[in-house]
Amino acid sequence: MTTDRRFVWRVVAKVLVLFIALNLAFALANFPANGGLAALGRLSLYNVLWPGRARLPYGDDPARAYNLSLYSLEAMFASHELSRAAKPAGEFRVLLIGDSSTWGWLLRNEDTLAGRINAMNLPTEDGRTVRAYNLGYPIMSLTKDVLLLSHAMRYQPDLIAWLVTLESFPADKQLDHPIVRHNAPTVRALIADYQLRADLNDPSFVNPSFLDGTLVGQRRALADWLRLQAYGALWGATGIDQHYPDAYEPAQRDLEADASFKGMAPPLLPSEALAFDVLDAGIRIAAEAGVPMLIVNEPILISQGRNSHIRYNFFYPRWAYDQYRELMRRHLHPTTVPDGVYYLDAWDLVPQHEFTNSAVHLTPQGSRILADELAARIHLIAGGRATTAQQTASRTLKRKAYNHGWFTHER
């Protein structure tokens, strides 16, 4: 064998050994590969080189949104401003959980619910300032909400505001979302710990093997993580984290004469078809940590167009949505929920012209209306210290609160 040939074989052998060793080390650090990059995901340029994101990473068109969707909760939260530093002493921390409406589809960060609430600089009785964090995520599933909530509890919230809508409730759709499927170990743990009805062996779960945790197996997650770090520069430079089209198709006002909802026909919406068990799990997670929770039935578009006597909007036939509201009212009645759980039914709070491209996406003005309502409740829960003007506003808000199904449940 010539020297050259020996040299090449040595190089090949070393490359192979190094490749295998690196892959094994990576897999050991990541196993179980829950959403990918369990360990590496915590490393982030956000809050170090780039400012933390004001909402969780999500984006179908990264090149224009400077944002992208990924499955690693660690990486997602590490990129959020919530991970910036230890909680300041003077902060009353409110975490907003919910769907695309909470995340702020088509809204600038300053117009989202969190942005609006923060702009108010609400003081609490003990001298802290209310600081809201947007943990909405544009997927309609209570299980997704609980998954994020369970992860978010480590950030020492003082209040959880959980915005829900009927579309997030269908029990058979809970696991139909990539972020849920790719975080199978955590979701399974939630199913087991809170005796959820979902099947632990649901075939939609992505079950990573040990090899899936290697560098090769995690190449997609690794690329996503790298791109998330890179897009942080543009987030920092532009403050943009979603694509704002010049024009969008407005939410339907003229509706089909179709009374069905998710394959169900009137007159009865069975409560078993809705994932109240998941809602209860979320409530328990907060209650176990002694954190109050404000559950909000978020505003929907109440159409006045064709067939609006049959449907409120594209999502909801009237019969189903009305029964859902009644089920929610009963389920969250003060006598049935733990201490520190509050409910606000804000379904008709926002006028129909303040919705954008879907029955739950709000305009900046619509967002302001809901944020004012939320702020009033947060203020009350936090023991607000109000100025005279705020006290007057607060009295008005309290009156409005009762009109919108506000339940107080004092500890």
């Binding site: 090449v8 790298l226 897009y231 543009l234």
Partner: protein, 471 residues
């Protein structure tokens, strides 16, 4: 590290010569097929077949025009010509292989009868070129001007749009939908340099005789088709005709360059590209520090992208025993702009130096102009042309002049400093500090120049400069 320098030159033997012939045939076939396979999809019908065919046609015509003095139509020509025609017809015939009709081209090729007519036309042009151009320098110049006109047609957007309209009308497609983006003729920018080199070298009597397959391989050499480097015909031919034996050293070195290039391009450059300056984020970014970040990112993205492509091209060629010229040599570490241009896109700068700057300055010297004026005219117009080669826009022109003026300023400064500020050889630390400062200044001059290069219009570029300097 294994390098070919450890190996003595490969001795000529029947075996190594035969291997070289096999290698050359393979390169010929692969390069011809590659221009069809690599040609991007084009919305104008059949153009993803016709543009590569036109590249081959130009190569054949220029070969005929430059092959004067050789026996043109001999047995070797017959073999090469038949092979070339056979390949073109074979590519065209894939249209009948449904569902594999897009096996090589992006969309089904045109009817074979149309292809045959085109081949006859090319053959006619070839005969005409061999008769007319070869013996007459004026015709050589006319052919060069024709190539430059074609380049302008493809680089000046209003003309390109008109060309797209004409092509659409020819194919019976909507002219209203014509766009300059329709005319994406793969590799023509680099094919132009190779054809012009051959014509100029022929006129100067420097062009070696090349067989048809050698010349076509040189013009459309697949690894260097998209992003260079720009080789010279005599150097390329030397490698092609040298005895060849597949050897581990070249293969290893080739693989190393390919791996390095792939990492630079697909990991580093593509990642940095995410936040590199572009026409969208230029208007969106706020604050000088962020704007500087985007500009730096663009500078490094361009280097790693282009450098990565070059490494891959050089690596692939090296595996076949072809040593393409280097294109980059740590350009951002150079202490002045002159050295930067001796280490950035080196083959392009060398091409312009050989075929434009040197002849121009020689001609100007005969007019007894003052040396600074000759240098200024030479450098400014050379860089202007390099700028315009990227695209005929105000921004590319300004970018070229930016560097032309920079080079002139450095030239004058170096002249001034040589006599007054020379650093003695024993003061190495001082020299190192001066070089480091020079590299920093040079890098920033180049990076700011990229603002013109990266953006489509002057107003946006000025807006970016305003943000960079907090104006």
């Amino acid at each position: 590290m294994v390098t070919s320098e450890r190996h003595p030159p490969i001795a000529a033997s029947r075996f190594t010569i035969a291997q070289a012939q096999v290698r050359n045939s393979a390169l010929f076939v692969l390069s011809v097929l590659a221009i069809y396979a690599l040609q991007p999809s084009i919305p104008i019908r059949y153009m993803d077949f016709w543009f590569p065919t036109a590249s081959l046609g130009l190569a054949v015509v220029v070969w005929a025009a430059t092959a004067t003095g050789q026996r043109l139509f001999d047995r070797a020509f017959a073999m090469d010509g038949l092979a070339l025609v056979g390949m073109v017809i074979a590519v065209a015939a894939t249209r009948y292989l449904d569902p594999l009709s897009s096996l090589i081209t992006r969309s089904p090729a045109p009817d074979v009868s149309a292809v045959l007519i085109a081949l006859v036309a090319i053959a006619g042009l070839m005969v005409l070129a061999s008769r007319l151009v070869g013996p007459r320098p004026a015709w050589t110049t006319a052919l060069v001007i024709g190539l430059i006109a074609l380049l302008i047609l493809l680089k000046y957007e209003p003309l390109t749009q008109g060309f797209a309209s004409a092509l659409r009308a020819w194919q019976g497609q909507s002219v209203a939908a014509a766009s300059a983006l329709d005319v994406r003729w793969l590799g023509f920018s680099y094919i132009f340099f190779r054809l012009a080199s051959a014509l100029r070298d022929r006129a100067a009597g420097r062009l070696p005789g090349m067989l048809l397959h050698e010349f076509v391989t040189y013009v459309v050499f697949a690894p260097a088709l998209i992003a260079g480097p720009i080789d010279r015909p005599d150097r390329f031919l030397r490698d092609l005709r040298a005895p060849f034996r597949f050897n581990l050293a070249d293969a290893t070195e080739g693989a190393r360059r390919i791996a390095t290039g792939a990492f630079k391009k697909f990991v580093v450059a593509d990642l940095i590209a995410v936040f590199a300056l572009n026409e969208v984020n230029a208007g969106q970014a706020h604050g000088a520090p962020w704007m500087w970040l985007l500009v730096y990112a663009y500078a490094f993205r361009l280097y790693f992208d282009f450098g990565g492509y070059t490494d891959i091209a050089i690596g692939i060629a090296r595996s076949f025993g072809i040593k393409l010229p280097e294109n980059f040599n740590r350009p951002y570490l150079k202490p002045n702009l002159t050295q930067f241009w001796n280490s950035w896109h080196m083959s392009l700068a060398q091409w312009f130096r050989a075929y434009y700057f040197n002849p121009l300055t020689r001609a100007l010297r005969t007019r007894e102009w003052a040396m600074p004026i000759i240098i200024f005219v030479g450098q400014a117009t050379t860089m202007l042309l390099i700028g315009l080669w990227h695209g005929i826009t105000w921004n590319f022109a300004i970018w070229g002049l930016w560097h032309g003026l920079g080079l002139f300023a450095h030239n004058r400064w170096a002249e001034f400093a040589r006599a007054r500020l020379a650093i003695p050889p024993e003061r190495r630390r001082l020299q190192q500090a001066v070089d480091a400062a020079g590299a920093l200044v040079t890098f920033h001059f180049v990076a700011l120049g990229w603002v013109w290069f990266a953006l489509p219009d002057v107003a946006l570029s000025l807006e970016v400069f305003g943000k960079l300097f907090g104006l």
